[in-house]
Assembly symmetry: C2
Homo-oligomer: 351 residues x 2
C-alpha cells in the first residue's frame, strides 16, 4: 500500500497549527506531508510528526502529486484555490463556507454521514462550521433513533472562533480589566478602559461581556453563523424541512463552543431514552450527573477530541422534546479533527 | 399627605446596596426610611438619600409603624420574617423565592400587571426572579398584541446573580487568569491555577468558561432558576398553560443578564410588527440596528434602569414566531428597581 501524499493549506493559521498537532498524534497513515501557506509565510519551518517541514508558497504546481489537501483559508481565497487543487488531482477537504451548500459537494461529519465522502463530483468535500460540528454527533444519534423535526439553538461561542486574532484580543482585554474590581457595572467603564479598538474584533468588548453577533449580517437580521447552523444541519442530517431557529453569541471563553438546545422529534422521547442512545454514540461523551457537579463546560472540553452532552431533560411542556447542553472544542472537532477524520475515511481509496 | 415609612430589610447586601442607590435617586416620596439587617450588621452607618442612617437589627418591634418594607433576604430567612412584618402592618415587597408561587401573593412587574398589587390577602407582594424580570417588559408588550403561546429561553447570567460573593469570585478569577495567554485551551489548566476553591461559587470556574448551572437542582434535572423562568412568567402574564423550556447558564459577566428567546404567538407576527409594539413598551428600549453595530449587550445595560431588546428576527421555519435577544441589569430591573417601582404603585393608598 502506497502512503498517500497530504497537503495542509493554510498551515500557519490558528486552525493550521491545530491541524499539524492533530495529524502528529493520530495514526501515521500519510506519506509526504506538504505545508502550504501564502507567499509571505513561505520558507518558515513548522513542526509536524516531530519533523521540521519548510512551508511552501501556494501555487498551481504545489498540488501536483497531492492525494488529499486540507484547506483552511478565508472563504474567497478557498473559492479561488480549491478548484485549482482539485483540477491537479487532489481530493480537497475544505473548511471554508464557499462550498458547503453546493449540491455537488458533500458536507461530511463522520459520525453522521461518512458514506457521503464517496459522492464528490467536484473532488471537493466540505467541512462544516465549528458551531454545527459541536452539535452534530449528538444530534445525529438522536435523529437516527427519534427522528428530528425542529430545534432551537442558542450558542456560547469562544473567542478562538475568530482565529488567532480572537485569541489575542480576548487575552489582551482580560489583562486590561484585571485588577479593577467593580468593572462592568456602569455603562461605558470597560469601553473607556479598552480604548478605541474595544469593538474591533467582536463587535463589542468581550471581556466581562457577551456579544450577540457571530459572523456577518445577512437578510432579515440573521447572521451568517445562525444560517449556517440551520442550513448545514439540514444538509448533513438530510432533513431538508428541518425547522431551526438559532441565536449565536460570542462569550469570553478562549476555546470550546457551547450550545443550549431545545429539540423536538417525530416520536416519543425522554431524557432516559436519550441518554441510552447517546451512551453508544461515536464522538459523544455524556456528562450528565448534575447533582454531583457533572455537566459539560467549555473549559473541560477545550483541547479534547470528543463532543460533550449534558443537562439532558425531558421538556416539561413540549411533547416529544428534549432540552440539553452540548460543548465541543471549536478548533478540534469544530475544525481540524473533523477534517482529519474525513481524510482518514478516504484511505481505502489508496489501497 | 403623610409620607409613608419605608424599611429596607437586608440593607447591607449586594442588592440592599443597589436598593439604597435606587431610592436615593428616585422621587423623594418616602418619610422615614429604616435600614434593617441581621444583628451582626446592626450599628453600621449606611448612606441613603445623602444621609447616614444607622442599621437596625431585625426584630418584631422594628416593623412597628412601617408602611412598606422591601425584603432582600435568603429564602428561608424571608419565609420566617415576612409574615412577622406583615402582621405588624407593613406591606411587604419580598425578593425571595418563598412567596412567588403562593396563590395568595401577587407576583408583580409594573410593566405587565400593576393592578395585581391591590389584591394581597397576606399583605405580601412578591418580586420576580432577576432572569424573569429582564424578559417580562418585552414579553408583556408582545403578549398583549400577539398572544404568547410558547417560548424557549437560553440565559447568559452575570456573576452578581450570586450576590457579593459572585462579584468577588469573578474578579478574583479574572485577576488569576490575567497575564497567561493560552489559558483555557488544555483541560484542567484554569482549575490548576485557581486551586481547590475553583468550583465553589458557580459549580465550575467562571473565568474563561460558561457554566450550565444557575440555582439548585430540582426534579428531572431542571434547576430552580429554569423552573422560575417558566412558572413566574406563567403567573405574571396570566397564561397558565404557557409552554416554556429554559436553560440557564452563568457567564463571566459582572452585571446584566441576557437571554436568547424563541417565542411563538397565537397570531401572525413579524419582526417589523414586533418592533412597532416594543417601541411604545414601558421599560423597554429597542436596540436593533445590527449593521450599524447596535444590539444589546450586558456591558451596555449594566447600571441602567431599562431592559433592552434587539436581534429581533422573524423565525424562518416556525409560523407566528420571533427570535430575539434581551438584556437587563439583574440588580436594577432584576431586583432593586422593580421592587422600588412596586412600592411606588402603593403610594395612592397613603394619600
Amino acid at each position: 500500500m502506497r502512503k498517500p501524499v497530504l497537503a495542509i493549506v493554510g498551515a500557519t493559521g490558528a486552525v493550521g497549527s491545530v491541524m499539524r498537532d492533530v495529524i502528529s498524534r493520530r495514526d501515521d497513515v500519510w506519506g509526504e506531508i506538504r505545508l502550504i501557506a501564502s507567499p509571505r509565510s513561505a520558507g518558515r519551518r513548522l513542526s509536524i510528526r516531530g519533523e521540521e517541514v519548510v512551508v511552501r508558497a501556494i501555487s498551481e504546481d504545489v498540488f501536483d502529486g497531492v492525494d488529499v489537501a486540507h484547506f483552511d483559508l478565508p472563504d474567497e481565497v478557498s473559492a479561488h484555490w480549491v478548484p485549482i487543487a482539485a483540477a491537479r488531482g487532489a481530493i480537497v477537504i475544505d473548511k471554508s463556507n464557499s462550498f458547503r451548500m453546493d449540491p455537488q459537494v458533500p458536507l461530511v461529519v463522520p459520525e453522521a454521514n461518512p458514506e457521503a465522502v464517496r459522492d464528490r463530483p467536484k473532488g471537493v468535500i466540505a467541512n462544516a462550521n465549528c458551531t454545527t460540528l459541536a452539535l452534530i454527533p449528538s444530534l445525529a444519534a438522536l435523529h437516527r433513533q427519534f427522528g428530528l423535526r425542529s430545534m432551537t439553538v442558542a450558542s456560547y461561542q469562544a473567542a478562538s472562533g475568530s482565529g488567532q486574532e480572537g485569541f489575542d484580543t480576548l487575552y489582551r482585554q482580560i489583562d486590561a480589566v484585571a485588577g479593577n474590581p467593580g468593572l462592568g457595572t456602569v455603562p461605558g467603564d470597560v469601553r473607556r478602559l479598552l480604548g478605541d479598538r474595544a469593538d474591533d474584533t467582536f463587535g463589542a468588548p468581550l471581556a466581562l461581556n457577551v456579544v450577540p453577533k457571530v459572523g456577518g449580517w445577512k437578510a432579515d437580521g440573521w447572521t451568517s453563523e445562525e444560517l449556517k447552523v440551520r442550513n448545514e444541519t439540514r444538509k448533513i442530517l438530510d432533513i431538508p424541512d428541518l425547522a431551526v431557529s438559532s441565536t449565536c453569541v460570542r462569550v469570553p471563553v478562549a476555546q470550546g463552543h457551547s450550545q443550549a438546545v431545545h429539540a423536538t422529534f417525530a416520536t416519543a422521547v425522554d431524557a432516559e431514552a436519550a441518554r441510552k442512545v447517546l451512551a453508544d454514540a461515536p464522538g459523544v461523551v455524556v456528562v450528565d450527573d448534575p447533582e454531583n457537579g457533572r455537566y459539560p463546560t467549555p473549559l473541560d472540553a477545550a483541547g479534547t477530541d470528543e463532543t460533550y452532552i449534558g443537562r439532558i431533560r425531558t421538556s416539561i411542556d413540549f411533547p416529544n422534546s428534549l432540552d440539553f447542553f452540548v460543548v465541543g472544542d471549536n478548533l478540534l472537532k469544530g475544525a481540524a479533527l473533523n477534517s482529519a477524520q474525513i481524510a482518514e475515511l478516504l484511505l481505502p481509496e489508496f489501497r
